[in-house]
């Protein structure tokens, strides 16, 4: 495979909201720095492009607009900046000595080597699996995957759906499945209560979809694709506590949380820590999004599972911190304004978990 060497000052891995904002703000604060984004998908925008509902939150993070519209705005301002170049269909494979990052370009069929002064890892997260027999049958999807199929490509994942998980993602994706024309038979939740916003849950209930709390999926069956989903009540120790119900369904969506995609960070020798509130293992980082390796920064879901508006702000902070380090400019005022804004967003009831997680991280030492 041919090898191409690419020169840049800041390399950003991942073109979701965190990566796009990192690029935009770094380029804006320190004109002349050369910034590259590598994104393994053929589309920019990460998870935001499949979100069709209006966002809550602050005006600076575009509250009131729909997710895919926000993604368009972020992409547009990055594309317009001549200091930023974008490599689509390009996967970062590993970080090596001297800050070298090796990437594979699927589009060009070659290896690309970057030697940036700073690397910002904004690689997002992946959806969790749930343990039950038959969880690998075609027709069992991550809820986000079902959302990608229907909202990005206009293809309905199936006609009759069972959703596992009544957090925000489970509730929102259920609603969107019905908007797209599918029937949602039930939402199954292991905990005794609903985890997501009550406005979402109320909307779902009004549409006649039962939300079965203290229940779980026992097994999924079907010859070559999903045909039946068996569901049973459970007690607080997650032991089966009653008779099963069987749903005839061609689709089962799993909305049981996300795990940060930290492989590159772990591989590059960043100090890692397990923080439950952030979704699992994350790279240690400070409030400027700097990791234990001076040339590597993080932003967005890869640094702890949260939401799009916090990913954007973390991206901004990481972009500014990287630009400051390389340009010698003093960007501390701008950085602290973004930090305050981020703290403001996390003050809401759903920011509690992230606050707790990020605090735990700060209390750990760098080494």
């Amino acid at each position: 495979m041919a090898l191409k060497i690419n020169k840049c000052d800041i390399l950003i891995i991942g073109g979701g909201p965190a990566g796009l904002e990192a690029a935009y703000h770094a380029a804006k604060a320190a004109p002349g720095l050369k910034i590259s984004i590598v994104e393994e998908n053929f589309l920019l925008g990460g998870q935001l492009i499949k979100q069709t509902h209006s966002f809550f939150g602050s005006k600076n993070q575009f509250a009131g607009k729909r997710g895919f519209e926000i993604a368009e705005l972020l992409m547009d301002r990055v594309r317009k900046n001549p200091d930023i170049d974008i490599h689509l269909q390009t996967s970062a494979l590993g970080c090596y000595e001297g800050g070298i990052v090796a990437c594979e370009s699927m589009a060009e069929g070659c290896l690309k080597e970057f030697q940036p002064g700073r690397t910002i890892v904004a690689a997002g997260a992946r959806e969790n699996m749930a343990p039950f027999p038959g969880n690998d049958l075609p027709g069992v999807f991550g809820a986000g995957a079902a959302q990608t199929l229907m909202n990005v490509y206009g293809v309905l994942p199936g006609r009759k759906v069972v959703m596992l998980g009544a957090g925000n993602i489970g509730l929102i994706v259920s609603y969107q499945l019905m908007q797209a024309g599918a029937e949602v038979l039930a939402i199954i939740e292991g905990l005794p209560m609903i985890g997501g916003y009550h406005v979402h849950a109320a909307k779902i209930r009004r549409m006649g979809v039962p939300i079965l709390a203290s229940h779980t999926v026992v097994r999924a069956t079907g010859k070559s694709t999903l045909e039946e989903v068996e569901v049973a009540p459970i007690d607080k120790n997650w032991k089966i506590a009653g008779e099963s119900t069987v749903f005839q369904a061609d689709t089962l969506c799993l909305a049981v949380g996300l795990t940060p995609g930290t492989e590159l960070l772990e591989q590059s020798g960043c100090r890692m820590a397990f923080v439950k509130e952030l979704g699992g293992h994350v790279a240690w980082h400070n409030d400027r999004m700097e990791t234990s390796r001076p040339e590597i920064l993080v932003a967005g879901d890869v640094s702890g599972i949260e939401e799009a508006s916090t990913a954007m702000l973390e991206g901004k902070i990481a972009g500014l911190a990287a630009a400051e380090g390389l340009s010698g400019l003093d960007l501390s005022d701008e950085i602290s304004r973004a930090q305050q804004e981020l703290a403001g967003i996390r003050k809401g009831p759903y920011g509690e978990k992230a606050c707790l997680g990020k605090d735990k991280l700060c209390k750990l030492s760098v080494r």
Partner: protein, 101 residues
Amino acid sequence: MRIDKHPVLHFEKGRKVQFYFDGRPMTGHEGEAVTAALHANGVMVLSHSLKRRHPRGLFCAIGKCASCMMRVDGQDNVRTCILPLREGMRIETQEGKGRLK
């Protein structure tokens, strides 16, 4: 199944193109994910697990889980969920671990 009417979204699709799945001609839209085109044609089984040969389908749709790896124009282990469809593409289910070319 393609979604015809949607209350919020309008789908801008590429031109219609022909491609092949295990030798069978199918149509899809240029530039959509290969897995989306396959799904719209009713193809749910994309691969098989290595040991027990369980059928596997689309699971993550963002290039992270490996259950959509297929042979594309002779190349093994292509993540078809993050591959844009092109005219004439030959998509095949791949047996085993595949070969390095």
